[in-house]
C-alpha cells in the first residue's frame, strides 16, 4: 500500500517535472493576474469572431443594399446600417478578421527580421553588430507612424503594403530587445562551455541563447500586435491602407465621419472594436510581462 503510494507520488513528480518549473510558475502568475485573464478572454472572443465571421455575421459585409441605407440600430440590424445599406454589425465582425490578420502578419514580419538581426548582432558582435545597430538607429530616427507612412508612399496604398509597412517599421523594437537579451546571456558559463566543446555557433544560438530571448520577445510581440492594429487602422483611416469596400475598422470610421451628427453608429462601433482589441492585447501583454519577468512586477 505504502509502496504504491510512493510510486504514485514519484509518478506525479515525474509528470510534473516534465513541465519545467518556470513554466508552472509562469502559469500560476498569469492566472493570478486579473488583467491578463480579462485580456485573454476578450482576445479569445475577438479571435472567435474572426475565425467564424461567416457563420456569425447575419449579412454580407460588402454587398450594397440601396433600400436599407442609414438605418439606426434595431433588431434586424444590431449596429444599424451605413450609407450604402451595409450591416454595420456584420462589417465589424469581418473587420476583426482583417485587423487580427494585419496585426499577426505585421508582427510576424517584424519578429522574423528583428529577432534574426538581434541574434546575429548580439552574438557575433564587432563590426557586424555596429553596422546592424547603426541601421536600426536610422530606422528609429523616423518617429511613430512616419516610417510606415514613407513605406506606404513608396509601395502605394493597399492592405498587403500596409502590413509590410507596419511590419518593417516595427523591426527595431525586436532587434534591440533580442540583442539585449543575447548580450546578457552570451557570457554565461553554459554558453562558454558549449563553445569550448566545439558546438557550432548555429546550434549555440538556437539551443542555448534563443530560449532566453523568447520571454521578453513574447511580451513585446503581444503588445506589438495591438500597436500594429492601431497603426494599421490609423493608416486605413487616412486612406493609405485598406481600400473600399473592405470592412476594415479604421476605414469604416473614416466613412462614418460625415454622418457623425445623426448616424453616430457607423463610426462608433468600429471604434469600440479597435479599442477593445487593443485593450485586450495590452492587458494580456502587461500580465505576461509580470508573469515572465518578476523583476518588472510593479
Amino acid at each position: 500500500m505504502q509502496a504504491t503510494q510512493s510510486l504514485e507520488r514519484a509518478e506525479g513528480g515525474l509528470r510534473e517535472s516534465r513541465i519545467p518549473r518556470r513554466y508552472r510558475d509562469f502559469a500560476r502568475q498569469l492566472r493570478r493576474s486579473k488583467g491578463a485573464l480579462i485580456g485573454l478572454t476578450l482576445l479569445l472572443c475577438m479571435v472567435f469572431l474572426a475565425v467564424f465571421s461567416p457563420l456569425i455575421a447575419p449579412y454580407d459585409p460588402i454587398e450594397l443594399n440601396a433600400q436599407d441605407y442609414l438605418q439606426s440600430p434595431r433588431s434586424e440590424h444590431l449596429f444599424g446600417t451605413d450609407q450604402y445599406g451595409r450591416d454595420v454589425f456584420s462589417r465589424v465582425i469581418y473587420g476583426a478578421r482583417i485587423s487580427l490578420v494585419i496585426g499577426l502578419i505585421s508582427v510576424g514580419i517584424a519578429l522574423l527580421v528583428g529577432v534574426l538581426v538581434g541574434l546575429v548582432a548580439g552574438y557575433y558582435g564587432g563590426l557586424l553588430d555596429s553596422t546592424l545597430m547603426r541601421l536600426i538607429d536610422v530606422m528609429l530616427a523616423f518617429p511613430g507612424i512616419l516610417l510606415a507612412l514613407a513605406i506606404v508612399s513608396i509601395l502605394g496604398p493597399s492592405l498587403v503594403n500596409l502590413m509590410i509597412a507596419v511590419g518593417i517599421s516595427s523591426i527595431p523594437t525586436y532587434a534591440r530587445l533580442t540583442r539585449g537579451s543575447v548580450l546578457a546571456t552570451r557570457g554565461e558559463l553554459y554558453v562558454e562551455a558549449a563553445r569550448v566543446t566545439g558546438v557550432p555557433n548555429r546550434l549555440i544560438l538556437g539551443r542555448h541563447i534563443l530560449p532566453n530571448v523568447v520571454a521578453p520577445v513574447i511580451v513585446a510581440a503581444t503588445l506589438g500586435v495591438g500597436a500594429a492594429i492601431l497603426w494599421a487602422a490609423a493608416l486605413s483611416f487616412l486612406g493609405l491602407g485598406s481600400q473600399p469596400p473592405e470592412p476594415e475598422w479604421g476605414r469604416m470610421l473614416s466613412e462614418g465621419r460625415q454622418y457623425l451628427r445623426s448616424q453616430w453608429w457607423i463610426a462608433t462601433f468600429p471604434g469600440i472594436a479597435i479599442m477593445l482589441t487593443v485593450l485586450a492585447l495590452n492587458m494580456l501583454g502587461d500580465g505576461l510581462r509580470d508573469a515572465l519577468d518578476p523583476r518588472l512586477r510593479g
Partner: protein
C-alpha cells in the same frame, strides 16, 4: 560632461547620413518610373516626361544625385512640388508652425495630465484613485486617436458647441486637437511616473524628510517628485517624436493645416518631393530633439556624465 555631449553629437552624424540616404532613395525605390507615376494625374506627352526627368536629374549616376540632394537640402532646397507648383521648402515652412504649435500643446497637456495622474496614483497606491488613474491610462493607450477625436468633436462641437470642430487659428481651435493628440502620451507618462514615484518613495531620503516633520505635500513634491521625474524626462524626446508623427492623423481629423495633413495629401497625390521633404524634416527634427533631451538629462543627472 562636455566629452559626453561631444560624443553624443558625433553619434548623430551617421544617423543623419542614413536618414538622408533613405529619404533620397524613396524616389528610386518606387516600383516603376517615378516620373510617370508623379504625372499620372496630368495629361502629359513624352516630351514633358523627358523635361521633368531632366529637371530632377534622374539620368545622373545615383551617387551624384545623392550628393546634389544633400547639398541642396543643406542650403534649404528640398525640390519642387508638382501638384502645388511651389518650392517644397516654402510649403513646409508655411505649414510647420501650425504643426509645432499642436505638437507642443499636446506635449504640454500630456506632461501635466500624465504626471498628475501618475503622482496621484502613486501616493494613493491601491486606492480607487490609483485604479481610476491606471484605468484611464490603459484606455488612453488603447484608444485610436482618430476615434477619440471624432468623439470629442461629437461631444464638444456638435452636441455642446463649446469648441469648434475643424480649422486652425486661435487657441480655441487648439484645445480638442491637443487633447486628442496628447492622450496616449499622457497615458504612457502616467504609468511611468507612477512606477518611478513608487520606487522613489521607498528611498531613505523620503523617510528622512518625513521624519524631519515636513508636510506630506512638501515631501512628495520637493523630495520625491524631483527625483522620480528624471526617468520620465528621457521619454519626452521620444514622445515629442510620437506626437509630431501623430499630427498626421489629428490634422486630418480636425481639418487643421500643417505638415501632417500635407504629407497625407502628398502621398495620395504621388507628390514625392513633398513627401520626401516632410519625412526628412520630421526625422531630422526628431533626431535633434532627442539629442537635446539627452543633453538636458546629462545636466540634470550627474550620474550620466560618466565620460
Amino acid at each position: 560632461m562636455y566629452a559626453y555631449i561631444a560624443r553624443r553629437m558625433l553619434a548623430t552624424v551617421p544617423v543623419l547620413f542614413g536618414v538622408s540616404l533613405l529619404v533620397f532613395m524613396m524616389l528610386h525605390l518606387v516600383p516603376g518610373d517615378p516620373v510617370k507615376i508623379m504625372l499620372s494625374e496630368f495629361q502629359t506627352n513624352p516630351e514633358q516626361i523627358k523635361t521633368l526627368r531632366a529637371q530632377l536629374h534622374l539620368d545622373d549616376p545615383l551617387p551624384v544625385q545623392y550628393g546634389r540632394f544633400v547639398w541642396n537640402a543643406l542650403q534649404g532646397d528640398l525640390g519642387y512640388s508638382i501638384r502645388l507648383k511651389q518650392p517644397v521648402t516654402g510649403i513646409i515652412m508655411d505649414n510647420l508652425p501650425a504643426t509645432l504649435e499642436l505638437t507642443v500643446a499636446g506635449l504640454l497637456f500630456s506632461a501635466i495630465f500624465g504626471t498628475t495622474l501618475g503622482v496621484l496614483a502613486a501616493i494613493k497606491q491601491h486606492s480607487w484613485l490609483d485604479a481610476l488613474s491606471m484605468g484611464v491610462a490603459l484606455i488612453g493607450v488603447a484608444m485610436p486617436s482618430f476615434w477619440l477625436g471624432l468623439l470629442l468633436i461629437f461631444a464638444f462641437s456638435l452636441r455642446f458647441q463649446i469648441f469648434p470642430a475643424t480649422g486652425g487659428g486661435d487657441l480655441k481651435h487648439l484645445v480638442l486637437p491637443a487633447l486628442t493628440l496628447g492622450l496616449s502620451a499622457a497615458a504612457i507618462i502616467a504609468r511611468l511616473t507612477r512606477s518611478s514615484m513608487l520606487e522613489v518613495m521607498h528611498n531613505e531620503y523620503v523617510t528622512t524628510a518625513r521624519a524631519k516633520g515636513l508636510r506630506e505635500f512638501h515631501v512628495v513634491v520637493r523630495h520625491a517628485l524631483r527625483n522620480a521625474l528624471i526617468p520620465v524626462i528621457t521619454i519626452f524626446g521620444l514622445q515629442f517624436g510620437q506626437l509630431l508623427a501623430g499630427t498626421v492623423v489629428i490634422e486630418t481629423v480636425f481639418g487643421r493645416p500643417g505638415i501632417g495633413r500635407l504629407i497625407v495629401d502628398a502621398i495620395l497625390a504621388k507628390d514625392f518631393p513633398v513627401v520626401q521633404g516632410v519625412v526628412l524634416i520630421v526625422a531630422v527634427g526628431y533626431v535633434i530633439a532627442n539629442l537635446l533631451v539627452d543633453m538636458a538629462y546629462a545636466v540634470l543627472d550627474p550620474r550620466i556624465r560618466y565620460g
